[in-house]
């Protein structure tokens, strides 16, 4: 049985100029222990689809799907209270801007222990021990002292490690990483990716990696979904995708390398391809 199964997910936002469809009929599934990468440019609906699955979109968003199941449970039919028991515990998510994603007014220790307090029956002492253990797992040195620090006293890379520790606190079955390395330095990016892959293998959890970086895909994913303008245009396992991309957009994305630049600038995909060419042959 798949861990997460989504069929024909549609997300619409009401705007002043009528409804805007951010996600248009996306279907996907993730198995336990699998790493799925969702690739696409900004605004292709990658994050929105995942936020919709977790029920984290604002009320202005209209979410519909033929099927939205996590671990055999229907997430759409679930009450808010039941969904909150799953979100943060069984499905965890980390975000793009690690420093902004942590609350500046609370210590990182408080923010980790808070997850444990609401989802587990651990007492204060046990929570502290678990927090220390998590800090060691994600590679934060001097954990005892670091727990008392505020986010602004830590670097971006360390904050992302804290976010990962928060996400792993309850041993989730699925981790969604929304551009986890985009805001970080190149050397730190590598460390965080390695950490994520290592923890994924160790815990055997499903991992959805949302990214626009083909390098990240190559390094981490088992399977890849390419999204464009809210629609899935290609799905393949990682080797097939890199060796034999079927969609013109995917080919263009893969060839968008600095060495192909003309006059110091890469052509944009919309200059090379029309939407019709891209959507032709896209799976539904």
């Amino acid at each position: 049985m798949s861990l997460l199964q989504i069929e024909n997910l549609v997300v619409e936002f009401q705007t002043a100029s009528g409804p805007f469809r951010a996600v248009d009929g996306v279907s996907l599934k993730v198995d336990p222990g699998e790493v799925l990468a969702i690739v696409g440019e900004s605004g292709s609906g990658k994050s929105v689809a995942m936020l919709a699955a977790m029920g984290l979109l604002p009320w202005t968003a209209k979410v519909t799907a033929d099927r939205l199941e996590f671990d055999g449970r229907d997430m759409l039919a679930m009450s808010d209270r039941d969904r909150r028991r799953v979100v943060g515990k069984e499905i965890a998510m980390i975000f793009q801007e690690p420093i902004a994603s942590l609350n500046p007014c609370f210590t990182v220790g408080f923010q980790i222990e808070e997850v444990l307090r609401i989802h587990t029956g651990l007492d204060r002492r046990a929570r502290r021990i678990r927090a220390l253990e998590l800090f060691e797992q994600v590679g934060i040195p001097a954990a005892e002292e670091r727990l008392g620090h505020y986010p602004h006293q830590m670097s971006g890379g360390q904050c992302q490690r804290v976010m990962i520790a928060c996400a792993l606190a309850c041993n989730p079955k699925l981790l969604i990483a929304d551009e986890p390395t985009t805001a970080l330095d190149v050397t730190i990016q590598k460390q965080i990716l390695d950490l994520l892959v290592e923890l994924q293998a160790e815990h055997g959890m499903g991992l959805i990696m949302i990214t626009h970086d083909m390098g990240v895909v190559a390094e981490t994913a088992d399977r890849v979904i390419v999204q464009y303008k809210g629609r899935k245009i290609e799905e393949a396992d990682v080797l097939t995708l890199f060796e034999n991309p079927k969609n013109a957009y995917t080919r263009a994305l893969l060839s968008a390398l600095p060495e192909n630049a003309v006059g110091g600038r890469l052509p944009t995909i919309s200059e090379l391809l029309s939407d019709e060419q891209i959507f032709a042959g896209a799976p539904r």
């Binding site: 943060g88 975000f95 994603s101 609350n103 500046p104 997850v115 006293q153």
Partner: protein, 334 residues
């Protein structure tokens, strides 16, 4: 921290000098003088008038009077009231608790209603609830205090007869002041019904004085909250599976409070200014009414001394607010 504190204290010196000069000169710009007003209907001969002015030292040149005044302030002497013949500072001390009691009740009411109202409006943004709360806040903010006070008196005291019109407690009760706070003293006195009476006398003035700060705090809370609700850490809090109550009441509120605290600090000045009108309307025996009476009687020493003391309180409160900042915002503390 010490550096910050010393810096702030150093700024107080020129501010203080400025306030003393303004207070000293403006009251003297008013036509008439205290001696003329003291004599009242019975006109005084010009010779007698000049004699009394000389005795009070009011016939000396302006700058000499001012430097003389500054000299006595430095020695801790704020002068003596021409009317009551008591030291200004003693009068202030005996009347200030009444104002403090009223102002504290008003600011507590404003905070207790304003913050939840602003939060509610922000969370329900764009709905009829948001628009009603903000509409009422705008009306409250624009309301002339004296007119609002009179309306309330006419309705609640005159028409419904629920609340008394003026004073601090019913004349039936008498007890010596211990703390100067009528609510506390009435409890300490042990007289039956005294506390209840003090409370009914306090309600209307509190509502009137709280109106503007309440509106300002509600509006500030709403805008601060709206900004914070869009932040990444609020999304993180929701992704942790926290209840909406905890996301808004703990994660968002703590951050939204930072600008709101500044606003509350600034409202202290508004409160003391409002107290002058409110106390006059409700004959509340505090420093606001004391100052207004002093202006009418050209009681120079009281006006100067009172203004200086009020300015000192406002500056002190603002300093305290800046210090509280660090408590709420760890980015300043560390």
């Amino acid at each position: 921290m010490l550096r910050f504190l010393l810096g702030r204290l150093a700024v107080l010196v020129p501010t203080f000098l400025g306030v003393s000069l303004i207070a000293f000169s403006f009251i003297r710009l008013l036509p008439g003088d205290p001696v003329m007003l003291m004599s009242g209907e019975r006109a005084m001969s010009p010779e007698r008038h000049a004699q009394v002015m000389h005795d009070l030292g009011l016939d000396r040149p302006f700058y000499i009077q001012y430097f003389d005044y500054l000299g006595s302030i430095l020695q801790g002497d704020l002068g003596t009231s021409i009317v009551t013949k008591r030291p200004v500072f003693d009068d202030f001390l005996s009347l200030f608790p009444a104002t403090l009691e009223l102002s504290l009740c008003a600011i507590i009411l404003a905070i207790c209603l304003g913050i939840p109202a602003g939060m509610l409006a922000a969370v329900k943004r764009g709905t009829w609830l948001d628009q009603s709360v903000m509409g009422v806040a705008l009306v409250g903010y624009s309301m002339p205090i004296f007119w609002w006070g009179l309306l309330l008196i006419i309705f609640f005291s005159g028409y419904l007869g629920w609340t008394p019109v003026s004073g601090r407690i019913s004349l039936m009760y008498f007890f010596p002041p211990v703390t100067g706070f009528m609510l506390i003293d009435s409890l300490l006195s042990g007289q039956e019904g005294a506390f209840r009476s003090a409370l009914t006398y306090l309600i209307l003035p509190t509502v009137v004085l709280a109106t503007i700060p309440l509106a300002v705090i509600a509006r500030q809370t709403r805008s601060a909250m709206l900004e914070v609700l869009g932040e990444d850490y609020v999304r993180t809090a929701r992704a942790k599976g926290l209840s909406p109550f905890r996301v808004i009441g703990v994660h968002a509120l703590r951050n939204a409070m930072i600008p709101v605290i500044t606003t509350i600090g600034l409202q202290v000045g508004v409160l003391l200014a409002g107290a002058i009108l409110t106390e006059t309307i409700f004959s509340w025996p505090g420093i606001g009414k004391w100052m207004v009476d002093a202006v009418f009687k050209r009681d120079y020493a009281v006006v100067q001394g009172g203004l200086l003391l009020i300015a000192a309180i406002i500056m002190l409160v603002n300093l305290l607010v800046d210090l509280t900042y660090g408590l709420v915002n760890p980015r300043i503390r560390h």
